[in-house]
């Protein structure tokens, strides 16, 4: 008893190109690599059918449509075998990969070999599938070489008696010269055009996105603080605890600070905590929503933005306590304090850009979270949070120039403690870092977006 192969059985049910095995004695299935063992297929399907009587009704029913199909190869006209279905479209490829490779190899040797070897095959190919080649030039876009092969063969079978002129001059095909196709191997790019929401207005889109955004922010807040005792206070308390420890060690034990040290230290801690907390949550935002993103077509940016907004809310809460400290330590209150918004906005944009990069990397490599926690620790040491930047030698000062967090902290300190509006250079540098991070992050995200779904 021969082993049966499901693919072989399927071969009998494919549209139009396969023959039903019962009446076919020697009509091969020429299309795929299985054509090599076509007779084996027929034998393996025929033989068991004879043994099992229950299979005979299966054998008899195909006789009705089968009568139509053997008629097709006899016609030499160029029409699709459309007797069975009205909107039938033959879709499978003309040649298998093995056949294509053989054709390539033969073509490289020269047309002489080609005219001899597949001479037996050409009548079958022409007879059974002339239609798709001519009717569907669209196939050519996906596989240019496929469409040209039968055209080449058609011209070749004619001068089979004279192989020499064929070898010298490459025949022009219906679809263009072969030389052109050989020179430019096209890398096929998939084209996806989904024109969803063609008629909804812009305001509707905004409303719908805003609703989703609000719901996601609410969900993040509720989930984070469910079953915790202090709830939202945690996000406010944690930077203050760090601040207190640093104040004790560096301010009291080491006696490093001057009169403004308290507010100096607190500014640094709050800004840095805003950055590290927001980017950390942003890093997990895509992967933790993988269940939704792999099943529903939602814009990924919304998840990122909603987690960033949650971070901004936390920071604003910490700012309330910051204001209290400002009052206690006698900071000058004046109209210049309105400019505090500027580094906050810049830092928000900066965080979004970094979150784009981190979230994409996190989908691909889970290790990034450990690397990033080390990176933030190093960055904290380099941001002059608990020491003064000028206490380091002059040749290291460039490090502070390139550290975006330091720039934002310095801006804030200059504004609040020294009551000076920073100069234009500082403004531009802060904005530059923010916009740069956003642009780089967004581009990176767009480039790798298509692969996320394979890594969820």
């Amino acid at each position: 008893m021969s082993e049966f192969n499901v693919d072989d059985i399927l071969a009998e049910f494919r549209d139009g190109s396969r023959k039903k095995p019962a009446p076919a004695e020697s009509t091969p299935a020429p299309k795929t690599a299985k054509s090599i063992g076509a007779t084996d297929i027929i034998k393996s399907i025929d033989a068991p059918k004879k043994e099992v009587p229950s299979a005979t009704p299966v054998k008899e029913t195909p006789t009705v449509p089968e009568k139509k199909i053997p008629a097709a190869p006899e016609k030499k006209t160029v029409t699709a075998p459309a007797e069975e279905y009205d909107d039938y479209k033959p879709t499978e490829p003309l040649f298998s990969i093995e056949q294509l490779r053989r054709i390539e190899a033969q073509r490289k040797e020269g047309f002489k070999a080609q005219s001899e070897a597949p001479a037996q095959k050409t009548p079958e190919v022409k007879a059974e599938k002339p239609a798709p080649v001519v009717e569907k030039p669209a196939v050519r876009e996906a596989k240019p070489t496929v469409a040209e092969k039968p055209a080449v063969r058609k011209t070749d079978s004619a001068p089979a008696r004279k192989p020499e002129p064929v070898a010298k001059k490459k025949p022009a095909t219906i679809f263009g010269d072969i030389e052109e196709a050989e020179k430019k191997p096209k890398k096929e790019k998939a084209v996806v055009k989904i024109n969803s929401n063609p008629f909804t207005s812009f305001t509707d889109t905004i409303k719908q996105n805003r609703f989703l955004f609000e719901e996601l922010v609410k969900r993040d807040f509720k989930k984070k603080y469910k079953r915790t005792i202090l709830g939202m206070l945690w996000s406010v308390i944690s930077p203050f605890l760090t601040f207190l420890v640093q104040l004790f060690i560096f301010g009291y034990l080491f006696r490093r600070g001057d009169s403004n040290y308290v507010i100096y230290l607190l500014t640094g801690n709050l800004m840095f905590h805003f950055f590290s907390d927001t980017t950390n949550t942003g890093m997990f935002s895509l992967y933790s929503n993988a269940a939704v993103l792999s099943k529903i077509n939602v814009s990924k940016s919304i998840f990122l933005l909603s987690s960033n907004v949650a971070g901004v809310f936390n920071f604003l809460l910490t700012l309330l306590v910051y204001f209290l400290f400002m009052i206690f330590t006698g900071v000058n209150f004046g109209p210049h304090l309105i400019l505090m918004i500027y580094p906050i906005v810049c830092m928000t944009i900066f965080n979004i850009g970094i979150s784009y990069i981190l979230s994409a990397l996190f989908v691909f490599f889970r290790d990034i979270q450990y690397l990033y926690s080390i990176a933030t620790t190093l960055l904290m040491y380099l941001s002059a949070i608990f020491y003064y930047a000028d206490s380091l030698p002059a040749n290291i000062q460039f490090v502070f120039a390139f550290n975006p967090i330091y720039r934002y902290i310095a801006y804030m300190r200059q504004l609040v403690i020294d009551s000076i509006v920073p100069d234009l250079t500082s403004h531009l540098i802060c904005l530059g870092f923010a916009v740069g991070a956003l642009v780089i992050g967004y581009l990176f995200h767009k480039k790798t977006e298509k692969n996320f779904v394979y890594y969820y």
Partner: protein
């Protein structure tokens, strides 16, 4: 043409790349030992759908039906080929996605509605209707994880069937729930299908496909076996299943 799919292929990169971390990735790049194997989920699928078509997608497990739906709804990008879709898509690939187990039912309804693309006003208006259809009025403030699975799918279905799309994509969502629910859900889906212009529908139940669909696409292991009229292909498919069953019995 509402949906036009030409020669698309989807290839997964399986093998070591997915599981390794950053360090392993760099080590292998240095050693030039980047081995990834390929799994072809869809191989050269092409079909076209017009206004008013109901396409049923059949095939054995692992044929690539869900992958094809994901490509059409825009979640996955094919490696080759062209996809062009015209119309508002509502893809219900998994009824239970988008719900959060910790939140209450009310919060979940709003969240899921937001993910599906409704506006807040729309959900406010339809909220009593949703509770009524899913018969969950008493459970409004319970956390979602406390519901039974039948209640969960009823709720998910109630929210999902408010969509009014041009193109509806269903991935075996009509096969959950008890008998009464199945009848109810099928009736609702039929109404939605009449209002929309195009539906893609995956099912393992050939009688259901015969009843509902006018075109059928038969996939097997990523390859397209047949596309065309529903009745003829359903006949072939049933005959194919019989043949395979007979072969197996004989073995």
């Amino acid at each position: 043409m509402v949906i036009d799919v030409k020669n698309i292929s989807v290839i997964y990169k399986t093998g070591d790349f997915k599981q390794i971390g950053l360090k392993e990735y760099i080590v292998r790049k240095i050693k030039k030992n980047m081995k990834t194997t390929q799994f072809v989920a869809l191989d050269n699928i092409s079909f076209t759908l017009e206004n008013g078509d109901l396409l049923g997608i059949i095939g054995t497990n692992g044929a690539g039906k869900s992958t094809l739906l994901k490509v059409i709804s825009g979640i996955m990008h094919p490696v080759k080929g062209q996809v062009s879709v015209n119309g508002k898509i509502a893809a219900l690939l998994e009824l239970g996605s988008g719900f959060d187990p910790e939140l209450t039912i009310k919060e979940n309804i709003y969240l899921r509605g937001a993910i599906l693309g409704y506006t807040r006003a729309f959900i406010d208006e339809k909220y009593p209707e949703i509770l009524d259809y899913s018969e969950l009025e008493d459970f409004e403030d319970r956390p979602f994880k406390q519901l039974s699975s039948g209640m969960k799918s009823r709720l998910a279905f109630a929210i999902s069937c408010l969509v009014e799309p041009d193109i509806l994509i269903l991935d075996e969502v009509l096969s959950v729930g008890d008998g009464a629910f199945r009848v109810k859900s099928e009736k609702t889906m039929q109404e939605i299908m009449k209002n929309g212009c195009c539906t893609l529908f995956v099912s393992h139940s050939v009688p259901q496909i015969r009843r509902l669909c006018n075109k059928v696409l038969w996939l097997d292991k990523g390859k397209q076996i047949a596309f065309g009229d529903a009745n003829t292909i359903c006949d072939k498919y049933e005959r194919y299943l019989e043949t395979v069953a007979n072969m197996k019995k004989k073995k």
